[in-house]
Subunit: 709 residues, 2 copies
């Protein structure tokens, strides 16, 4: 990082400043080759799901009363149930295939079609079903199977009004009563009301309720545990002692029936405790194979890791559909003359339009390629756990560290994918103008439905801080949930080791860049790019550690203030880390394509665009730290324009590679949105869903003739 | 710009690096003093409107069928009609007060309460009414008055399916028939269908239709003109030859009934031409007091200037309400322990939370203060025009330039205010977590309703390019709508003059910074800040001019490509310009507060935060251009954290100064969202709108007692 770069007065070699422009006429056949890279190891299962989802009935319903929309969504969930796509994620013990990772890809694909459907499915199979499957044992088989076959609709009763992000502080209690051999579930205060619980206001009959576990003779809670609680009778009336509230209308996901739950000393059998990681015997003795209560807590939250990967994937799914819709429109719609005075230019031919869609598209590729890596890693982990090679309750130190890193990866991936979804879907909507605002073209529904993704399953800002803290502690298992003081102490004693010990994606150990000597390298060189991003990751982390370390002589409260003051720094560190991993995943994936091929040239430009945009997002920082010279940053800026120009004609091929189910792309604006003369002569109203209230004067002639008048 | 700055190895003086921290305990009385600055010259009229709007019935309706929501909104519009607030904007001739600018403030305040209501009101009174009022003459009095008193509901029939942003290319025709003394309005192709027209699908009886005007014996169109066309009979059936379509469900503004209009040779009287700026006599001779057809077109689009200011103001209105809601929540809601192990910290006490809300808050102040300037300037212009001092049809060269500058100001203001609305409302929503996603807390409705603001009344990206082009031509009237070649020629011949001729806000001429020698100045010095922003404005413009000038030897098509390639540069130039004006307006406004007073200290910190954030948004550019050293940029970054820390306790006072109608701030989450012990003991469900479907076990005791169990 001595940055010989900074001295760069010399001009870089011209060839390193501009990318080689791609042919102006795109080759549609490339889409299939790119699709293989994007689908990665999951192409076959994804294609099966795509075929299942390619139906009109799967699309979101936006009109109607809340009750109609909710009822309609439940029918769609049943339709998904019949495909079997979500049940494969369950363990073999419960009749699934044990491929938990398939649920993550499933959410991605569902979200490409209908995000309400994705989330309600996710609650039923992933959260309710997942909790019972993962935290339960053989005695809970009926619940797992009921979740799978939809005879038991259920919810995930974690969040409380008072505590959403801070799960360890939940207040609902589960007190064991040895006399009746029951747990008593109770809501001690309004703040302990279970809140925003999906699948609850209308449909749920069961809930996986998280509560502080108390046993006789032990004053302190054993921590948060999960219990199966019946909340409604079969006929839909709430069970005795259970009060169910309805959140009513929300900013999106209208069909998902979010509600509240309060428990007035509701009695459930002892066996309702999901006892994979802790149990209470008939006498009320608490046992757990995991000694540390902190470790136990995080083990039980394991479902959240899958949930976070799935929510990130769902955000990415909605992003892919939105960009596909907007880019296809941009290749058709014309507005404003440029060079040719007789014909308006296609939107994609305008520079600003290319920038606003193709830059987010490049990032979407990067997210997909990281997602593939993470899903594969998650699959490997769960399969090792299923085979017994990897004990969940007693992992080797290396496994424990890897599990911790997986938590961070899921947290940061969820944050980066869902934040990108907000930005990219909004750009897609705006770049379709008024048509983009019509619900029939789906973009506003994607936007509204995915909005809550940035705060549920863990608020992004909290998740990024979590990931940032884990970077400081280098995922050491003894620091599962570090207090501010823990962080300070750890930083103070381990400062030199921390930056070196990073392990990357768990594939090839990523080398630490000690000095940055590549100032002569091309901006388009993959290795150079990786170094530039990795260096940011390391420098931000190093300065964060120093900053936190500075609190070592302060008292507890003052030290906590320093850590709190470093929140934005923690967030930056996590961002830099995950972006570096995105680039790494991208570069690895592109190597699957033959060198020298057109498809390789295309995907390399997409990667260049992603990396250079990431650098420019941090253009200030790179110069402040003397990592990049102003000349190099300017060159990166210019290269971005060259890249969007080069990729412009190819951008439809790039979204075709997403293989979005066709029913999603059958939007009315494609049939009536162009401004070609040829289109102007088309028959009237061919595509639009606009309902004509009344047409007068039709006797004057057929509308199609009218068009020629 | 020689940038002695760049050499800065010396450390800046410490006092220039950190702001003086404000007292930790805020003074609530400051809110009233800040309110005076924010309301500016309009305090009295705004307070009247606030009182009128502070009622439950004005709030948005989110649930129900589309028909119910639309019907409900029409009733709300009638309620607004009774207050008379929107009618004052009409000319004295038609019975208004001639204070057109009041409609802009009116939209701001309406949008603080209900954006659907703001937009439907804006269509009825501002667009339909405004077109008739401004473009019509005495013979159109009945329409103006019908628009005012709601006996004539109408729409603004401009946008077509094929042409939204490119208004000059509209295809609807109005052909004069001297035999019957009528115009024949016709839609020649599906692409010419009037589209997204508000107040049309359900309620409108009339429309101000924009069409190419043809007269006998003249082959070419006289350009786009506006006609009053009846579209429905009183009973609601479409008029003969008029086909009305319904866009149905949209991404927001659900109550606004957007529809389509097609005309099958619909005959309207000759007098239906709004003939303020052009007329056709009985024989079919066309006359206009404005010779240039281009100039005539832009004069007729004058209503759009007011519309754009109003949409910008409406975006700012929704932003103010959203930030007020989110910041008040942040001062109440607690989550996560920091220093104090027994009590969780308020959200506002977390650094990340302060950053995400207070930085947008500072920008919101800047937008408000610019808005005040622009509304005042618009008021001065319209009043001079009404008095005859300023002829609309034959202005002095200075007036013509000023009018052109006003167009650019309105365009850029609309863009900056609505883009900010998207970002800030989203931050507000996210920072309230799950509660922010519940419609009862209003944030998602603000977000969804304002979404289309960024593309309607002119797409922001198009408007910014328009403003950028006007900067190049220095608002010269002969270049009203410059072709790419015009731009190139102008840039080639006027390059040295362009940057110097900028006239600023029309108040004190803003001096051009020739060299930048203030490296010793404090980051918190207002004059220094202004120079830093103005320098960016000028340098971006200068490099833009050079870039475009480079095309002077190319042929027309190639030159157009160069201009198209400079689109992002045009956008940057417009951004830099408007941000510089925001800072200027801010600094002028803050001087109304007594020096040395607490209120002055507070508002100065808000301005510091706005300016430093604007600099950091362009941190890369400032270093690339050697305008700021890396040390100075780092200092600005650090100062932003210091400023949000200092302003944190004051941030509730800062939003109280917006004087949002109280009914908006009466959100359920304020009653149940904290996590204080005291709140935990409160009675159950005091505030939430959650509907309890059924409560079992109520006989076991009163819920309020239950809370203490």
């Amino acid at each position: 990082m001595t940055s010989a770069e900074a001295k760069e007065g010399r001009k870089a070699k011209p060839e390193s400043r501009s990318p080689q422009a791609l042919p102006e006429t795109p080759d549609a056949a490339i889409a299939g080759k790119l699709k293989k890279v994007l689908d990665g190891p999951f192409e076959e299962t994804k294609d099966e799901i795509r075929a299942n989802l390619n139906r009109e009935e799967a699309l979101p319903q936006v009109e109607g009363t809340l009750e109609e929309i909710r009822a309609g969504l439940l029918e769609k969930v049943k339709m998904i149930g019949e495909t079997g796509m979500m049940q494969t994620a369950f363990s073999k013990r419960n009749g699934g295939s044990g491929e938990a990772h398939l649920g993550i890809n499933g959410l991605d694909l569902l979200a490409q079609v209908n995000d309400s459907l994705a989330i309600k499915s996710g609650v039923q199979w992933g959260l309710w079903g997942g909790a019972v499957d993962v935290l339960g044992t053989d005695r809970h088989k009926e619940y797992a199977q009921g979740a799978m076959n939809l005879t038991k609709l259920g919810s995930y009763g974690m969040t409380e009004r008072g505590h959403g992000s801070n799960v360890q502080a939940l207040q609902t209690t589960a007190t064991y009563d040895p006399e009746t051999k029951e747990f008593v579930i109770n809501t001690p205060s309004p703040m302990a009301t279970k809140t925003y619980i999906g699948n609850t206001a209308r449909d749920g009959r069961w809930s996986a309720v998280f509560a502080q576990l108390y046993t006789p003779g032990v004053e302190e809670s054993h921590g948060v545990h999960c219990f199966v609680v019946r909340i409604r009778e079969e006929d839909g009336t709430p069970c005795e002692g259970v009060t169910i509230g309805d959140h009513g209308h929300k900013g999106g996901l209208l069909g998902v029936d979010n509600g509240t739950l309060t428990f007035d000393n509701v009695r459930i059998p002892r066996e309702a405790l999901l006892n994979q990681f802790a149990d209470v015997d008939e006498e009320g003795n608490y046992t757990s194979p995991i000694e540390s209560s902190n470790r136990r807590f995080f083990t039980m939250l394991g479902t959240l890791i899958r949930g976070r990967l799935a929510v990130g994937a769902a955000g990415a799914g909605a992003t892919k559909s939105s960009l596909a819709i907007a880019l296809k429109y941009a290749h058709q719609r014309r507005q404003f003359n440029t060079g040719d005075e007789n014909k308006e230019a296609k939107l994609i031919e305008h520079r600003v339009h290319r920038r606003r869609l193709i830059i987010p598209l490049a990032r979407t590729y990067a997210i997909q390629l990281l997602q593939n890596k993470l899903v594969q890693r998650y699959a490997d982990q769960t399969s090792a756990q299923a085979s017994g090679e990897w004990s969940v309750t007693d992992p080797t130190p290396k496994q424990a560290d890897a599990a911790r890193e997986m938590e961070s990866l899921a947290a940061a991936f969820k944050a980066v994918a869902t934040e990108h979804a907000m930005d990219a879907i909004q750009e897609a909507r705006e770049s379709c103008g008024g048509a983009g605002f019509m619900s029939e073209n789906m973009l506003t529904t994607f936007r509204a439905d995915t909005d809550v993704f940035v705060t549920f399953e863990g608020d992004n800002m909290v998740l990024l801080q979590l990931a940032g803290k884990n970077l400081i502690t280098a995922f050491a298992k003894e620091l599962e949930n570090p207090s501010p003081m823990d962080l300070v102490k750890f930083a103070a004693t381990n400062v030199t080791d921390i930056v070196r010990s990073r392990v990357g994606l768990g594939t090839a150990g990523q080398s630490v860049v000690d000095t940055f000597t590549s100032e002569e390298a091309s901006l388009f060189d993959a290795e150079y790019q990786l170094k530039v991003l990795a260096l940011r990751e390391q420098l931000v982390l190093r300065s964060l550690v120093r900053r936190i370390q500075s609190a070592r002589k302060l008292d507890r409260a003052e030290a906590a203030k320093v850590v709190d003051g470093a929140q934005d720094h923690l967030v930056n560190a996590a961002w830099a880390w995950i972006e570096s991993l995105m680039a790494q995943a991208f570069i690895e994936a592109e190597q699957e394509l033959p060198e020298g091929s057109t498809e390789r040239a295309v995907i390399e430009q997409v990667r260049n665009l992603f990396v250079l945009d990431t650098i420019i997002r941090n253009a200030g920082w790179y110069q402040e730290q003397n990592v990049l010279s102003s000349g190099r940053v300017k060159a990166a800026r210019a290269a971005i324009n060259d890249l969007v120009d080069s990729l412009g004609p190819w951008s439809e091929v790039l979204v075709d590679a997403f293989a979005i189910p066709e029913v999603v792309l059958d939007r009315p604006m494609f049939k009536d949105g162009g401004t070609d003369d040829s289109q102007g002569k088309e028959a009237w109203n061919v595509g639009s869903n606009i309902s004509i209230t009344k047409r007068y004067g039709e006797d004057k002639g057929d509308p199609a003739e009218h068009a020629d008048a």
